[in-house]
């Protein structure tokens, strides 16, 4: 980890460098291939490695090895995205860490410490696709005498091992509980995402929780969760930026080497123009991201943060899908094979574009925010 005396910009540079060497040393693209082809189950080793690098803790409290901000996380994930790594780090460490780190329940500091040490957590709050905010949760907390129970369902929960952070509606408002994924009464059905990772639907049927499991109290949980989700989306947009940068770079290499009709195909003007259009989208994403970081770092207003996150996520999702689709087209038949790496980039783009709300969901939210501002 960087020394505290480093200025924030230096830290971002150092983190970027360690991400670049991580991608190279660990052959993360090869790892992404194995995840897709064999079994997308998360490997715990990766979390331990990220923990040693300080990445699982970085967005937590300073005294737990954190204290870094979005700029550093964005720098990290732009590089990890180029290597198809980082998705589980966002969903299994950053988002839960940001949520738990802003809470004061009995279990909060235990969760923070455990994430910092490399134990993955998964946030469960979505009643259905397209739900962006924690208040939508369809899990209810029921108090029966001294016993607390969770009832309801949550979908699109990343399958990150044994620990869940569950957003539940209590009698006085939203609360956040730590729940063991093997708790009696909890049923899980799992599907695989395009990148091979596992995603679960959870049904809570009288799942017992104790006061000791409370992470976020009424009053703080909702705000902590929504801020964590929106910061997570900005980081996710950085990952998508990395995916598209790497995809474009590989495509440009191909355009410069593939020959048809006695020319490198990159000499055909139509392909040149299309490549430029992709480059425009990449740079738009980068600019939208920089703006979103600045807003998020200073914004006290959750609506501003939500607007910034949606703005970045809309652009990054659309652009990443466009770049990866066009990359396939410009490669021709070879990119329609599983052997070729471009498909892995497409699958990563599909997976991250959809998780935590896709472009359509974020356009909708952004549109409503803007419409309210205009009306006011």
């Amino acid at each position: 980890m960087p020394e505290p005396s480093d200025t924030p910009d230096d830290i971002a540079v150092l983190i970027r460098e360690s991400a670049v060497s991580h991608v190279a040393a660990e052959d993360t693209v090869g790892r992404a291939r194995r995840l897709r082809e064999i079994d997308g189950h998360l490997d715990q080793e990766a979390f331990i490695a990220w923990s040693r690098l300080g990445w699982t803790a970085m967005l937590g409290p300073a005294e737990r090895g954190g204290g870094l901000g979005l700029s550093e996380a964005v720098a990290l994930h732009e590089e990890l995205g180029k290597g198809l790594a980082g998705g589980p780090l966002i969903h299994g460490a950053h988002v839960p860490m940001l949520a738990a780190g802003a809470c004061t329940g009995a279990a909060a500091s235990r969760v923070v410490a455990s994430i910092a040490e490399g134990t993955p957590y998964a946030l469960a709050f979505q009643p259905s696709g397209g739900a962006l905010e924690s208040h939508a949760t369809a899990v209810r907390l029921q108090e029966g005498g001294s016993v607390l129970r969770l009832q309801g369902a949550a979908h699109y929960v990343p399958s990150h091992g044994g620990h869940l952070l569950v957003a539940a509606r209590g009698p006085a408002g939203l609360v956040l509980y730590h729940v063991d994924a093997r708790a009696p009464g909890l049923r899980r059905t799992t599907a695989r995402a395009a990148d091979g990772s596992h995603v679960s639907s959870l049904v809570f049927d009288d799942v017992r929780v104790a006061d000791d499991d409370l992470v976020g109290r009424t009053g703080e949980a909702e705000r902590a969760l929504d801020a964590a989700l929106d910061r997570g989306r900005i980081i996710q947009s950085a990952l998508l930026l990395g995916v598209m940068r790497a995809t474009l770079a590989r495509t440009l290499d191909y355009l410069k080497t593939r020959k048809q009709f006695g020319k490198t195909i990159g000499a055909f003007q139509v392909l040149q123009h299309r490549a430029v259009d992709l480059y425009v989208q990449v740079e738009l994403t980068a600019a939208a991201l920089t703006h979103a970081i600045a807003l998020a770092d200073t914004a006290q207003d959750p609506v501003l943060l939500a607007g910034a996150a949606s703005s970045a996520k809309v652009r990054a999702s659309e652009a990443a899908l466009l770049v990866t689709r066009e990359a396939i087209q410009m490669h021709g038949a070879i990119a329609y094979t599983q052997e070729h790496d471009i498909g892995l980039f497409l699958n990563q783009a599909l997976t991250q574009a959809a998780a935590l709300g896709n472009a359509a969901a974020h356009r909708r939210r952004y549109g409503l925010i803007v419409a309210r501002q205009i009306a006011a």
């Binding site: 696709g129 695989r192 396939i328 094979t337 599909l350 959809a354």
Partner: protein, 388 residues
């Protein structure tokens, strides 16, 4: 199938002809293999193709004298439309669609007698060996070589992207027979039994997770001289001459219509029609498909009147494949988080697999002449723009 039996099809009015096809498909084609969002393997469609073969319906477009149904072009279009509408799976059909017509026109009597009957009985399946690693859009750059060894040819080289070669019995090849001649002029057309020693097939898995095509390697493969179709070095001309009215099928609205139907099922299930953002995008695609179908009908009428198609038919494929892809993209988007998950999901009582649709649509703009190549053709041959 004799000529006499075939005649009634042309005498039938179109409505009863369509009704006859529909009744047969509904009775004989199992529901599990209909409306499938993927290319089916030979073994999966075999029971169905047997039934078609017994009926004499494997080669609807062939003249009756060669064992076809002897349909007029109008009836053939109706046949195709009806089968598409009913979701009849496409059996491996390179022999039916490409090789048969080529042999009828350029083959010897002996070749026609040997190869055509087993195609009409669906007993021998063919694959198309044109593309090579370095000869895709620029097909004339192909290098697989057939060396003249007196009474036979010796073939060396590699073909690739050969659709369902692993299910085929034979391959028809474009091979180089004269390395000194201009690119297009040194190419010959050769028929090869895939059981010949020296041939290796390696299936390739696609993004759709299917082994849909193969690499085919030729290592000193001996091919009898009698397997050459037409004269030596005439292969390019023959292959090109065959690009007849079949080109219209590449621009058919059926893939778009099928995908739109799935998108509608999904949107009904999620209630997305109540979302004006979705409705706007859906309406545009609905219009695109409708207008595509109307444009297609215009070209189809031209074919039915017996007029040849011009280069302008390429505009169908350009728009049909782009529309098809955009529908699958909206399907993924409308599915939300589910849109990134592998496998079908239930929407109401229908099942939709957005990702499978999305993957399957990707190569439509690559095979059969990429959209870039098609645009180049239209720009020059139709709009009269100069060469770059």
């Amino acid at each position: 199938m004799s000529e006499i039996d075939a005649l009634p099809y042309d005498a039938m009015d179109e409505a009863s002809f369509r009704a006859m096809l529909r009744d047969f498909v509904e009775a004989e084609c199992p529901a599990e293999i209909r409306h499938q969002p993927r290319r089916m393997r030979r073994a999966e469609v075999e029971p169905w193709t047997r039934k078609l073969a017994d009926k004499g319906w494997i080669c609807p477009g062939w003249p009756a004298q060669f064992g076809g149904m002897g349909l007029s072009v109008g009836k053939l279009m109706a046949f195709q439309e009806e089968f598409d509408r009913l979701g009849v799976p496409r059996a491996p059909d390179m022999g039916v669609v490409m090789l048969g017509p080529l042999l009828m026109r350029f083959g010897s009597d002996a070749q026609r007698a040997r190869y055509l009957p087993p195609i009409t009985r669906a007993e021998e399946v063919w694959c198309q060996g044109y593309s090579e690693p370095n000869a895709g859009s620029d097909l004339a750059a192909l290098r697989t070589e057939a060396r003249d060894a007196g009474d036979h040819y010796v073939v060396n080289g590699q073909k690739t992207w050969t659709t369902l070669a692993q299910d085929a019995d034979f391959i028809f090849l474009l091979v180089r027979t004269d390395k000194a001649a201009k690119k297009q002029e040194g190419i010959s057309f050769l028929l090869v039994d895939l059981k010949t020693p020296g041939i290796t097939r390696r299936p390739i898995r696609t993004l759709s997770d299917e082994e849909e095509f193969c690499e085919v390697f030729f290592d000193d493969v001996a091919v009898p001289k009698e397997n050459l179709v037409g004269a030596p070095n005439q292969g390019w001309t023959m292959a090109k001459a065959l690009l007849g009215f079949e080109r219209i099928f590449l621009g058919s609205p059926k893939q778009s219509q099928g995908a739109l139907n799935r998108l509608e099922a999904l949107a009904r299930g999620t209630g997305a029609f109540g979302d004006t953002g979705f409705l706007d995008r859906y309406a545009q695609l609905n219009l695109d498909v409708a207008h595509l179908a109307q444009l297609y009908a215009r070209f189809a009428d031209q074919v039915k009147r017996g007029e040849p198609l011009g280069a302008d038919v390429s505009i169908l494929k350009i728009f049909a494949t782009a529309t098809y892809q955009r529908i699958t993209e909206l399907t993924v988007e409308a599915a939300g988080e589910q849109g990134a998950l592998l496998g079908p999901a239930a929407y109401g009582n229908e099942s939709v697999d957005p990702l499978a649709m999305f993957y399957l649509a990707r190569p439509a703009t690559i095979y059969g002449g990429s959209s870039e190549i098609q645009r180049g053709i239209v720009a020059k041959a139709v709009l009269g723009l100069p060469d770059g």
